[in-house]
Assembly symmetry: C2
Homo-oligomer: 399 residues x 2
């Protein structure tokens, strides 16, 4: 039951970016993105108007943080130096980072962006106002392939997502409110996870629990990103669920289409077509498989079934520290990689061991939506389905 990333992971990640750095003319790698900083240095924070800057040279890992993060930053084992500014804007965060870089003898950097992201109203100088900046996306690319340790955390997340989903199903009945069912299931599964893991649980959430299980229902399911309506459940409602759990920052994705009471023949038919599309996509996954091949295979099947017009999105995405990560199972992925959009090699258009995909083809009518999502890891010789809640119709009818 691994619930925390081992320290050696960070050593390997820092070594990998130092290798990339050595192949450039830059003196340091610099990151402003919260997820990249968490990935490289193990320092997790909420990205606000207060920039956080990570700098990695051949010899030093330095972190610039607002005063309110000093104690947490100082406790991170992989960081050699923590510099603090009081707050934004008076603390002049990017100027502070430029000062640290100068102090480290850095004249040019390869950065994930030329300055802090403009979130929550941040406006400030670009880093290139102070030194030479080239941009790189090393960490974004490194995150495509997960290590065994990362996949173990996603697998653990799937276990607690499964519990949350079971609680969702148990509390679903005509007259129940979908928001309350969602919140009750999240609370119960979170409490079980916290009590079961005990000291092994890694704190990651704030004023909430680690499991989030919930759903949209009724007509809102027509929209892939619909909202939870203020309407109590009725017999005949379709429900589209989502469940996940936060395990040291990593997550899984589990979604099911459920029926409140017996589905109509049309509902059951669309469910079965969706299920078959998902099955063939899961079976198509594997090392060396082209991403657009899987998306095209689903499209072909839906066209054959006469429901191509009910699709609203591609088949899936990667997942890990981020809720959606590249690469995507999309018809255009190979073109994308060959084209001008990125600096990726054409080889990147294929699935590789360590990729972790959601597989979630969906069908949407004027009345309801039908979508499962499972989280599937690509292995050296095949795949492993990490989410394990039953997918079949009978298991997803609440009577």
């Amino acid at each position: 039951m691994p619930t925390e990333l081992p320290s050696s992971e960070f050593d390997a990640r820092l070594a990998a970016v130092r290798d990339r750095l050595a192949a450039t003319d830059a003196d340091a790698g610099v990151w402003f993105g919260a997820t990249a900083i968490e990935y490289l240095a193990g320092f997790a924070h909420v990205q606000t108007e207060r920039p956080v800057v990570l700098a990695v040279t051949s010899g030093t890992v330095a972190l610039v943080v607002p005063r309110l993060e000093r104690e947490r930053a100082a406790a991170v084992p992989h960081v050699d130096r923590v510099e603090t500014y009081f707050d934004y804007p008076d603390g002049r965060p990017v100027e502070t980072a430029a000062g640290v870089l100068a102090d480290l003898g850095v004249g040019s950097v390869a950065a994930d962006a030329d300055g802090a992201p403009g979130v929550m109203g941040y406006q400030g100088p670009s880093l290139s106002a102070f030194l030479d900046v080239d941009t790189q996306s090393w960490v974004d690319r490194m995150r495509w392939a997960k290590s065994d340790a990362e996949i173990a955390l996603i697998r653990e997340s799937a276990t607690w997502a499964n519990l949350g989903h079971r609680r969702l199903a148990e509390h679903t009945e005509p007259g129940a409110h979908p928001a309350t069912v969602s919140q009750r299931a999240s609370m119960e599964a979170s409490q079980a996870m916290l009590d079961a893991l005990g000291d092994r649980y890694v704190e990651r959430v704030r004023g909430d629990g680690p499991v989030a299980a919930g759903y949209i229902s009724g007509e809102e399911t027509r929209l892939p990103h619909g909202h939870t309506p203020n309407e109590r459940l009725e017999r005949g409602d379709v429900v589209v669920t989502g469940a996940t759990a936060n395990v040291d920052g990593y997550r899984s994705e589990l979604e099911r289409t459920m029926f409140v009471g017996e589905p109509t023949d049309e509902q059951a038919h669309l469910f079965e077509v969706m299920l078959e599309a998902q099955t063939l996509a899961i079976e198509a996954l594997g090392p060396g498989v082209a991403l657009d091949y899987v998306d095209d295979a689903v499209d072909d099947y839906l066209a054959e079934q006469g429901v191509a017009d009910l699709a609203r999105h591609h088949v899936g995405h990667n997942i890990g520290l981020g809720a959606h990560e590249p690469p995507y199972i999309d018809a255009g992925w190979s073109d994308h990689c060959d084209g001008d959009h990125t600096d990726l090699a054409p080889d990147d258009a294929t699935m590789e061991p360590g990729h972790v995909y959601t597989v979630e083809p969906g069908l949407y009518t004027d009345d309801a939506g039908y979508r499962h999502s499972d989280t599937v890891a690509v292995t050296d010789d095949g795949t492993e389905r990490l989410t394990h809640y039953p997918r079949d119709l009978e298991s997803n009818v609440v009577r």
Copy 2:
């Protein structure tokens, strides 16, 4: 009990950006940011790797969305034209937007950014690959001053946040788990809000309820952005809460420092110093007041009390559609506005009617943190405190 922004607000906002557009050489204003698009056109969406683009010309409001948002986009009354791409990357979102702009006869734009934000792995061409792009931050600046209708929604949010906070206090007792207390309070207050508002409730959340109330406890309160620990509450614990409710996308912020059982003399003293600092800050707010004046006044008081070293952040921020918005109550705000960072006029360094501030000076020791936060609107002749949970010590001791 206003729970939805009236349609006239969007007319006024679109008129305002058209006025700004008319003062430039550009043919259209363009936005990629989800909050700006929601603010101008009333189209709310989750920002993912799939870009959404809003274009406003003198005669047309056009929206480019992924296929999965088409139905929701088409239902927005303020949008004249909706163009869809299937998905990212194959649908070539920015190329699609460039095509719509060309079709509208647009040759140059004033945009909030030169392309879609790089969230969730999006990588794509910049807009300037297709036409002339100047950047503007019109909407960011317009959002500083809220209308009466916006403040009414924040006031309504504060009502339901207050209920969530009351439930937090009720469920707090030695032996209770802070995550479970948080989730139970959120569930109960959400259910009350949903049932009380009925048809007036505007769907805004997904697999969850509209009220979020929760806390961090024990040693985690030493960190302003601490996590909820996996430790049950004990007598002597300090708790720092947070409660809000989503009312048509708007939110309030209510935070309290609470004690599980009787506080020690030192705890009570630090609470009272924090409370006095907050009181003087709230009383200092008003139209025409310099933002740094309020931050400095708190700093002076904390220094006088000999606890200046226990401060970790500035006094507050604005709030509305965003959780943190400028301007900030920060010692450097006037310099910031005078300096090179922004194109803001020096007048912008003062509080104006319609600004909605959180007021939240905090003190942090090696053992615990002490912070209240209230949401306060600046009016034509003073202020209105929108959050109304009791602030005094006696009301915040759970016995």
